[in-house]
């Protein structure tokens, strides 16, 4: 596993991609979930009772930053199927969407634009935020291990 890790992330392009994915995802999700505020002052805080939500955001962002570059590496080097990258992107998107609506500006915009349909969708994503994020993390974990396995096999064949 370590060799695969070195193979992908010792390449500066994939390392940079990983850093960009992690930082953009974690900052966006922490802003949306109100763990970071930019106005009127820059401030960070984790309200009591929201610790699990914070941990899930960090885990989701970390896994996305690992799985997406690994799959891009696999596709670019071995010209293989794109099935696993769709799994990783799907996992990242549903994990990000969960809780993104809630009572903040995104939720307000969705409800204002789509009316009762938007309200139902927002309520669903808010009500099941934690289970949806856990499900997304599970998808990313499965994609991570299948990618590692597939890279091991492909590398043995190639090198």
């Amino acid at each position: 596993m370590l060799e695969i890790f070195k193979l992908v992330f010792f390449n500066y392009k994939f390392f940079t991609l990983s850093v960009i994915i992690f930082s953009s995802m974690v900052i966006t999700l922490l802003l949306i979930s109100e763990f970071i505020f930019l106005e009127p002052y820059f401030v960070t805080h984790i309200p009591s009772g929201s610790e699990l939500g914070f941990i899930l955001i960090v885990v989701l962002s970390t896994l996305s930053a690992l799985v997406i570059p690994m799959n891009i590496f696999r596709i670019s080097h071995f010209k293989n199927s794109k099935q696993k990258i769709s799994g990783s992107i799907f996992g990242s998107i549903i994990g990000s969407a969960a809780g993104a609506c809630s009572c903040g500006p995104i939720g307000f915009a969705v409800i204002s634009t789509f009316g009762s349909v938007g309200a139902t969708a927002t309520a669903f994503l808010t009500n099941y935020e934690i289970p949806i994020r856990i499900f997304a993390i599970l998808i990313l974990f499965i994609t991570y291990f299948t990618t590692i396995k597939s890279l091991k096999t492909e590398c043995k064949v190639s090198f």
Binding site: E39, P40, H45, C103, F108, S112, A119, A123, T126, N127
Partner: protein, 221 residues
Amino acid sequence: MNKKGGILGIIVISIIIVIVASMSSSNNETFDVDMTRTHGSISTALGSPILGDPLAPITIVEFGDYQCHQCYNWFHNTKPMIMRDYIETGKANLVFVDFAFLGKDSPKAAQATYCADDQNMYWEYHNSLYNSQESKIDSGWANSERLKAFAFNLNLDMELFNECLDSEKYSKRVQYNSQQARDNGVRGTPGFFIVDSDYNQTQIGGAQPFSVFQKILDSMI
């Protein structure tokens, strides 16, 4: 002649029905508030009663939804410190204005607070809603039966409360308050405006920590 009399009778009865209906409808909309009450750019006339000293130099206007979990976070994490350091000391007061947009039970919950206000129990009822909030929107925790149960637990006159809630007496009041939020650029809950005696106002979006409020309030005192 009889035919004409019959038609005339129907017309008279119809007019009486219309007049009675419009009178009962206008009775539903009548409530005793100071329509001139404003804080900065916000008309708080139909918002909550003022919490704290009405003559305090600073007013915190909170726009909130009873089903919003971030409002719950603010109520439990930040508000107690604001109460202790600013409201109970007379440095500031607070007005809650409904921005009921999250679910179908949100406007009803907001209306229920004004039904409790009819019996001078607005803040007690408001607190019981935020203490009883469940994490799921429209899960039934704020449906009519539960809203009546909260009133019962506060020993309110249930006949008056039920009549008020079932008649939707305060429906337009809640709509007016939500429109105030939109008109003042609030794009989510909770949203705050801190207004000083010179009508300078600072907007805060979201359930921000006490340190942010402290910094702004101290700069206005």
